[in-house]
Symmetry: C2
């Protein structure tokens, strides 16, 4: 299988590494806006050849993996559409699904039936193809959100390739996917970025940050993630994220009143519900 | 040195364990509202004797360590005051300092000069004296917030005992302490509790929580902490915490507008500031 990787970063590079390790692909061509990413991908033996255009990269491919930030995917689909082979399978790794599907629907024409939207639930704060890791997906979940018109063969190909990385594949409706990850991924990232930015903006912010302990380190770890990637995700999933954020802010308003009034009962009620759920979740999460 | 430990939990037990390991104390008497905590402390060899009242526990002590939740400390000071030896040194391990000092000031009379307010910056989510760990304080910071009237000898005793646990002692004004930890400890705990509670309260909350990944695990780890302890801390430090929460909510309101409007520039500005600060902090934090 000949692969074209559009967007040569940590996630796309890790997929190629996992597939090469499993002997599932023959060759890979890469395209990226950043020529240094291409050189790094070649040096690491992940891509065999770099292309100067999306159309050139996908021309001979059996499988096209779109692994750019989600905000760039609609344009990538437009550029690849005229050059896709009639039997090429296309998939993406975006953290949001409805907007990516809308971009594919607008651009791919008949090839839409061989587009399999997917979201591997795996990541790390470090980015760049030099951070690629063949073991990144082992034991992790991959959500695929097929459309009504998705071809069964294309879906089977993508699911088989992910199974080959050690990931556990699960199908889901795209809208539900976006609601779930707005709550458990996109909102926490926004909140962590906001906390570090809020403290940093205070006159004595730098001094305060110097006293952060282990709890602060864990809570803000995701605030070291790529600002451009998370900007894109928050914009792409703005409807579901906006709703989650509104609900969260309503609870914070209640907690502000409880703090200001010294209302221990109201605070403990919320804290106790959370602690019970978090311990339950921790017991179920088996290291995912 | 004979120690009385008022509140036999993870932190107080860890102090006794560290001091016993370092050969700094001769004996320890314990008092707790929970008689099972006393039995557990005796079984673990941390306390030699349990008392049925605070007054009885402190009667023969050279050093009294108050390690109850901060909300109970004012009452503990009232109960110990008549029974304290005239040369006994008193210290606490509370996460807030102004309210603890106010409680001590109201109750201790002349003994206030030998009260050394302290806050060891060390903890874990698990609690109870069975979780005591002699190595808990090694390399961690302890903030002491002496009063204008604090006796130099009492201060030296407490600082020497903490140095013996491997901790790094630092002096600070109590009001500044409370502002700093409102920002980097109390607010993050409140926010983490609130996120888990908010998601859990949604109709599909349990299903959503099932998809939390590594980022969610880190972000919400502190939401498994003791609800009663954090309720007390939030009430005790309500002025500084209320102010931090207000500033944070103002930033969230701006971010809500940016999300709703799909304003990528406004989002990236905040995210980029945060990511830069967080990476800087991470580089400086050397594992604290």
């Amino acid at each position: 299988m000949r692969v074209a990787l559009i967007g040569v970063g940590m996630i796309g590079g890790s997929l190629l590494a996992a597939w090469r390790t499993a002997g599932l692909i023959e060759s890979a061509t890469g395209w990226d806006v950043d020529s240094e990413a291409l050189r790094s991908g070649e040096r690491g033996g992940l891509i065999d050849r770099s292309s100067s255009s999306v159309a050139d990269a996908v021309a001979g491919a059996d499988l096209v993996v779109v692994a750019t930030p989600v905000g760039a995917m609609a344009e990538v689909f437009r550029q690849m559409a005229p050059a896709l082979r009639s039997d090429a399978v296309v998939t993406d790794v975006g953290s949001t699904k409805r907007d990516v599907i809308a971009g594919a629907r607008a651009a791919l024409g008949a090839a839409l039936a061989r587009f399999v939207p997917a979201h591997p639930i795996a990541g790390k704060e470090s980015h760049g193809v030099a951070q690629a890791d063949a073991g990144l997906f082992a034991g992790k979940r991959v959500i695929v959100t097929p459309l009504a018109e998705t071809d069964g063969g294309a879906l089977a190909t993508v699911e088989r390739l992910y199974a080959g990385t050690g990931a556990v594949v699960e199908r889901m409706d795209a809208a539900e996917h976006d609601r779930i990850f707005a709550a458990v991924s996109h909102l926490p990232h926004l909140l962590a970025f906001a906390l570090v930015a809020a403290i940093g903006a205070e006159p004595d912010g730098a001094r305060k940050l110097g006293y952060g302990g282990a709890g602060f380190r864990d809570f803000t770890r995701i605030a070291a993630s790529s600002p451009a990637m998370w900007r894109d995700i928050c914009v792409a999933n703005r409807v579901a994220l906006g709703e989650e954020l509104r609900g969260y802010r309503a609870l914070l308003e209640r907690l502000q009143q409880a703090v200001d009034a010294g209302d221990a009962v109201a605070l403990e009620q919320v804290f106790a519900q959370a602690a019970q759920l978090r311990r339950l979740w921790s017991g179920n999460a088996d290291g995912r």
